[in-house]
């Protein structure tokens, strides 16, 4: 008789309770992480909205060239989300090569997105926008802009690193389809956050 059997009074009862919501533990953890991350982004966006609403001379600096670039970034992000769905589907049916291929396409799309994002930043910095000042209006604009878009970019970079590691691990058999699915959940979440960042940060501040 093992120590655990003694502790349980000799009865053979399950030591672990079944997973709540019938969701695997790692997937449940990812959902809970995403919910907590929603709070982070919601707090940032509400703080941004607070500042924009309460500041009369809030700048509207985004020219058409910036909006075109942001639309291209959005197209890349939404397309990468669809491709990540394909990666998860391939992983679910045990197609390791297909899942790896789609994951790498998602990774490439994410890298292009990140490069375009950094290019936008350099464009803003070249116009004189910093955390504390800008040429157009309240100095709060730069801080709000770089904070909201920066936390998005940070998530994109983190997701790309995770996707690279998990995809390589999945291809070699170290990681399971569930791990690809969890990476996919995080990538989809970042896409959804971007769908709020674009209208609230960029489109509400179109120069006109």
């Amino acid at each position: 008789m093992s120590h655990s059997d003694v502790a349980l009074g000799g009865h053979h009862v399950p030591v672990m309770e079944p997973s709540p919501f019938a969701v695997p533990a790692k997937k449940l953890a990812m959902w809970l992480f995403i919910i907590s991350d929603i709070m982070t982004f919601a707090a940032c966006l509400v703080a941004y909205g607070f500042l924009r609403n309460s500041t009369p001379n809030w700048p509207k600096p985004f020219q058409s060239s910036t909006i075109v670039s942001v639309m291209l970034m959005t197209f890349i992000m939404i397309t990468s989300s669809l491709i990540m769905v394909l990666a998860v589907r391939a992983a679910k049916v045990g197609d390791r090569a297909g899942a790896f291929r789609y994951s790498m396409i998602t990774l490439a799309a994410g890298l292009i997105f990140a490069v375009l994002h950094i290019r936008e930043w350099f464009g803003m910095i070249a116009q004189g926008v910093t955390f504390y000042k800008n040429p157009w209006g309240t100095g709060l604009f730069g801080g709000a802009y770089f904070s909201v878009t920066g936390i998005e970019l940070l998530h994109v970079i983190a997701a790309l690193i995770a996707l690279l590691i998990v995809s390589l691990g999945y291809k070699s058999g170290r990681y399971s389809a569930g791990d690809i699915e969890n990476c996919g959940l995080f990538w989809q979440f970042i896409n959804i956050v971007w769908m709020f960042v674009v209208p609230l940060v960029y489109l509400m501040n179109v120069a006109g």
Binding site: M39, F50, N53, I67, T79
Partner: protein, 102 residues
């Protein structure tokens, strides 16, 4: 996403993909019409929320999870998002003075 669903068709994902692109285009059109601040904010939030719901339900696969998961995750998240918005009224106070003072 369940295993049964994984072997199914792609049409619903393509529909969500197209819907998300269309939503983004509508947002751009609205932004260039320069409506008033409140109308612009409400339109943008509404469209973004529709895109987000589609993304969560289909790209993230919440629609194919069991019913209890959908209810638990949705209620918790919506509650957090609702309560975090309490600060908006204070931003009006900064602009117009103490709320409800007139």
């Amino acid at each position: 996403m369940t295993t049964t669903e994984a072997s199914g068709g792609l049409s619903k994902y393509l529909a969500v993909y197209v819907a998300m692109l269309v939503i983004t285009l509508i947002e751009v059109v609205i932004a260039y019409r320069h409506p008033s601040g409140a109308r612009l904010l409400v339109s943008m939030l509404l469209l973004a929320a529709i895109g987000a719901v589609l993304g969560v339900l289909y790209f993230m696969g919440l629609a194919s999870e069991n019913h209890r998961s959908i209810v638990a995750f949705s209620v918790f998240t919506l509650f957090v998002l609702a309560t975090i918005n309490y600060g908006w009224t204070d931003s009006f106070r900064i602009l117009f003075g103490a709320p409800f003072s007139k």
